[in-house]
């Protein structure tokens, strides 16, 4: 019996030591984030985004102040936490970024297709970074509440769900490989579960975000692009149907989660 107890002790020791190390690592990361959160550089993008929204730009020299993000022309507050949604004028379900492309084309006269093909961090993609920072910030603290009222919204959700579980490529990965279970990590990076509401300010409710490691502001489109890269998939088009469907799937699943976007990431 004594032998058994000491055996259990020996077996548990590394687990306990290990748990302690893990905790302190997670703690230091949290501290680091808290330190940085005092001045989230995303605020600089927000300020620039608000200015860009109101500035007359593009071939038509028009501002975006009449852009309808779903709650009516010019209404920004609260729009972010209801996207993606169905838009009758385009007869499409759109996320924030594809909707902004529509406004930039229809109101300002830009070529949406060209902007979609532009590399992240270049040209009008830089404008989009700032715009999504400001627009998401206008919904900070609000809770996600996507509509499933329109048949196309429900269909987009189903397509997104299929895409989420679609395994392919040389590694056999799908979105679910990393985000299908709660409490998992890649290296030290915590992975939010995205098949359900992962909690306030986590997962879908934490993008757009400022990435400290790269000094960039990433919207959900860029985040998804990097997911597909790591999934070893081919390259997803900016504002392509699969990205919008995944946004609908994650957004509906995140119903009730509080948005902290634009968040701060390592």
């Amino acid at each position: 019996m004594r032998y058994l107890i000491s055996l259990v002790g020996v077996l548990l020791l590394p687990v306990m030591v290990h748990a302690q190390t893990e905790k302190s690592t997670a703690d230091s990361i949290a501290e680091y984030r808290a330190m940085l959160a005092d001045g989230n550089p995303a605020e600089l993008f927000e300020a620039k985004g608000e200015e860009l929204w109101k500035t007359k730009r593009g071939p038509n020299s028009a501002s975006l102040e009449q852009c309808d993000l779903g709650k009516g022309p010019g209404i920004v507050k609260g729009a972010f936490v209801e996207l993606p949604r169905w838009f009758s004028d385009t007869q499409r379900v759109q996320d924030l970024e594809s909707r902004l492309l529509t406004c930039m084309e229809r109101i300002q006269g830009f070529n949406a297709g060209e902007i979609a093909k532009t590399k992240f961090g270049k040209g009008e993609q830089v404008t989009l970074e700032s715009l999504v920072a400001w627009i998401s910030a206008e919904s900070k603290g609000l809770r996600f509440n996507l509509s499933q009222g329109h048949a196309q919204e429900r269909k987009t959700y189903e397509m997104g769900k299929r895409a989420f579980f679609y395994r392919a490529g040389p590694y056999d990965f799908s979105c679910a490989s990393c985000h299908g279970q709660a409490g998992k990590r890649i290296r030290l990076q915590d992975l939010p579960v995205l098949t359900t509401n992962p909690g306030d300010g986590v997962g879908f409710a934490a993008w757009p975000a400022y990435r400290v490691s790269s000094g960039e502001l990433w919207g959900m489109q860029r985040r998804l692009n990097d997911c597909f890269r790591q999934q070893r998939f081919p390259y997803p088009g900016y504002a392509s149907d699969v990205t919008i469907a995944l946004g609908m799937y994650m957004g509906v699943n995140a119903k009730g989660a509080e948005s902290v976007a634009p968040a701060l990431k390592r």
């Binding site: 397509m159 290296r187 070893r232």
Partner: protein, 212 residues
């Protein structure tokens, strides 16, 4: 003969409703996928094609496959695995540790899809050595993999089943778990036989950082 014809006709009539709806959704989904992606470097759109294993596991959406389907996938996967050409299962654990740390391979950033450009990505999902604290938890801990299984001499007959199990798992993870989250490192051509042997040594060599 007549009976058979009638039977097929009936079966066809019964199936046509749901199958038609399914086929339509499948077609729309495939159309969405095809139109959403493009080639970028080595990551070409033909990667979207699924084999039967990935198709079945995608359809299950995280649920367990029916036992018969899982068994048939596992059986086929196991049959795809060949023992090492020279009969030696273990290489150099130090090279294995380097591979395990290396998370690169097969993204559109990589210039080449050759096995020499690929890492093992092991620490992304598994704990291995005690010293490396930055490890993932999608897969089980492999710390003391050989030692916990009583492997003191990997060449010995008693170690044989454990050695072969690990070899099968690394070569084709679906041989033991139809919808395993782990890539099929051998079967998919991600790692060479020599690289796989080095990972085997990392797991099973009593001198390796995993077991010491």
């Amino acid at each position: 003969m007549k009976f058979k014809t009638l039977y097929f006709l009936l079966a066809g009539l019964l199936a046509v409703g749901p199958v038609a709806a399914d086929t339509k959704t499948d077609a729309e989904f495939n159309q969405m996928m095809q139109s959403s992606f493009r080639d970028e470097g080595i990551a070409t759109v033909d990667r979207l094609k699924q084999d039967e294993t990935n198709a079945a596991c995608s359809k299950a959406m995280g649920a367990h496959l029916p036992a018969a389907s899982a068994q048939s996938i596992e059986k086929a996967a196991l049959a795809s695995v060949r023992p090492p050409s020279d009969g030696k299962y273990l290489g150099d654990w130090r090279a294995g540790e380097k591979l395990a740390q290396n998370g690169r391979g097969m993204t559109w950033n990589e210039k080449s899809a050759a096995t020499s450009s690929n890492g093992g990505n092991c620490y992304n999902c598994h704990q291995l050595s005690k010293a490396e604290l930055s490890f993932g938890t999608i897969g089980p801990s492999l710390y003391r993999y050989g030692a916990n299984r009583g492997v003191t001499d990997p060449q010995s007959p008693t170690a044989k089943p454990i050695v072969e199990y690990a070899w099968n798992k690394l070569n084709n993870s679906k041989a033991t778990n139809a919808c395993s989250d782990m890539p099929r490192f051998g079967q998919a051509g991600l790692l060479s036989e020599a690289q796989l042997k080095d990972l085997m040594a990392l797991l099973l060599d009593p001198e390796s950082v995993v077991n010491r």
